[in-house]
Subunit: 159 residues, 2 copies
Amino acid sequence: MISAQELRAAQAYAADRLAAAGIVLTGAERDAIEVADFGLSRLREFGLMLLVYVNTDRYCAKELVLYPDQTCPEHRHPPFEGTPGKEETFRCRSGSVRLRVAGEERVLAPGEQHTIPPDTLHSFQAGPAGAVVTEFSSASRDELDVFSDPDVRRQTVVG
Amino acid sequence: MISAQELRAAQAYAADRLAAAGIVLTGAERDAIEVADFGLSRLREFGLMLLVYVNTDRYCAKELVLYPDQTCPEHRHPPFEGTPGKEETFRCRSGSVRLRVAGEERVLAPGEQHTIPPDTLHSFQAGPAGAVVTEFSSASRDELDVFSDPDVRRQTVVG
């Protein structure tokens, strides 16, 4: 659970970091920035902010914004509807992000990218300056993500 | 056909416009910027510069850069390998771009986007300040594109 104040502050932080990275959003997009605490109620440590540009039955594109040192917990994107599950490419835009994929670590600086195969355990953590990461992928079904921590809930409750 | 000098100038222009839009590239990516004159040998009028970030069997992401008033000629992305053909979303990053899709026109300003269905005739033209456009799509097979002008050749010859 996060407070309404945490939600607003996280949306404002994400909009500011995206603008600083040269990424122009419409007003409706700024209002639609999603804040995920993964049900862990420690947003500054575990979570991320995200904006979905497009998500068709075939492909998806999003911006991910992380607070300094914030971690998106380990998860995988399982097969669905006859597909092998979501395949995704992370491209760092600003700050830095440490990716852990199937036990291997790499740090992406701005302009660097890495592709994560479907149904493969991964997590990522922003560096000390936070991170803006563009995600290109096949179709996204966030609600199907399988997290390693049984306490994770993908739906964010604002209370 | 374009000259080696036109090729280098177009790559430098595209790298400069991407940098001005806040988009960080690696050195290898700057060298890999593709210049397309569509075989019409009038690059400043007809053509575009493009950088492919990723193109898997499932999704693709590119940056497109256009000179002021430059036009990408009308074409469609036909079905292939059991798919309905490439579906693509254009998101304007800087400048402006006029999209013509199946006879309908719209102008995208920075932060605005539009999705073009598969196998649908479309063309686009940059505004007077040129354009940087991010393209999110299903898998891309540029060599299969069908152009309305029979003089178009997708392969650029540098001579």
